[in-house]
Symmetry: C2
Subunit: 203 residues, 2 copies
């Protein structure tokens, strides 16, 4: 019943994360029945997306391709950032979440992956040499901001060992009950960490 062309659009839309065939069909029907410019403009952007956006040469985040420049992301290009503080994250999305908090004045390194024996990701696939050379260039503190999961903890521990000879301060994000969270509904590991990491209150 559907033209082949729509079938193909549906199939390609369903490659998006969390998009099944039903959602893809909903998007496709919208795109084909809505104003012609909506599909065309989105199509144009996507066709050339990878020509215009690449990994930042320095931190691995996203950078816009410009002529006659090193390929650097907005954070690496920002001269007001604190070069002595380096935040190591697993994914660009994590970096963006931290940026939204406006609590991290330093620079980043995006690992791109976490140590994961089950998925066959070993220490050799982490950018350890890159991390060491950035630390040696004047970093005083490395925040190992990998997620508080099994793989994230293992990666943080490995990186901490790899950096231990450089005399740099190593920290990890606090883990505990989230803002607005109910103690009643917090899982035991989170509560255990919240208790272990309790802070002195100075009234």
């Amino acid at each position: 019943m559907l033209p082949d062309r729509i079938r193909r659009v549906v199939q390609r839309l369903s490659r998006l994360p969390g998009v099944g065939e039903k959602t893809a069909l909903r998007y496709a029907m919208f795109l084909v029945t809505a104003d012609e410019a909506i599909a065309r403009e989105l199509g144009e952007e996507l066709m050339t997306l990878h020509e215009h956006v690449r990994r930042c040469e320095q931190c691995g985040a996203l950078a816009e391709v410009r002529q006659a420049e090193r390929l650097l992301c907005p954070v690496c290009l920002d001269p007001r950032r604190d070069d002595s503080l380096l935040c190591v994250v697993a994914r660009v999305q994590d970096m963006m979440a931290i940026e939204r908090s406006q609590a991290m004045p330093g620079r980043y390194l995006v690992l791109g992956k976490l140590l994961s024996p089950l998925d066959g990701v070993g220490p050799g696939e982490l950018p350890i040499a890159e991390l060491r050379s950035r630390v040696k260039a004047g970093v005083k503190e490395v925040i190992l901001a990998t997620p508080p999961s099994v793989d994230g903890e293992a990666t943080a521990l490995l990186l901490a060992r790899e950096l231990s000879d450089l005399g740099v301060r190593l920290t990890r994000l606090a883990s505990g009950v989230p803002h607005g969270g109910e103690l009643e509904f917090a899982d035991q590991i989170t509560l255990g960490r919240a208790i272990d990491g309790r802070r002195k209150l100075d009234p």
Copy 2:
């Protein structure tokens, strides 16, 4: 923090139905970090979507543009369809849902809109002349398959009146408790309709 290019992709993805900024960002991050072909292929399809898919000249559903042919959808092109049965639906999506049921052997007319005084859609915007001319071409029954909503019922009633002089059989989809639905959780209008439309059981 995000390159302008990504911001633009996010903004354009968030035009999709039900996609907020967070989901759009998730899609954009996937597209920019996944294989280059995924964004490019989707982009190509979308850029030229409206050149290749148009409204079927006969029923208003979706048709693929081909040379040297009337622009007809797969259902209108199918010679095995029953020309004496016409199903009137509000949207292409509704037609597709009915097609999936495989219970409608006839042809379609897609209205494209419903009577909606609040949105300023009056009788003049419905394809009544088109519907009458299709009925006159040999249709014996018109299923007014607009949705069982206020606007859908009003539209069905208006179309029924407009067709009343043509001596065609007019029907409406049954309304009642859906398959697998619990009586306990059915709303009172649905239950009322299910009782009004009850069928004799012949054991």
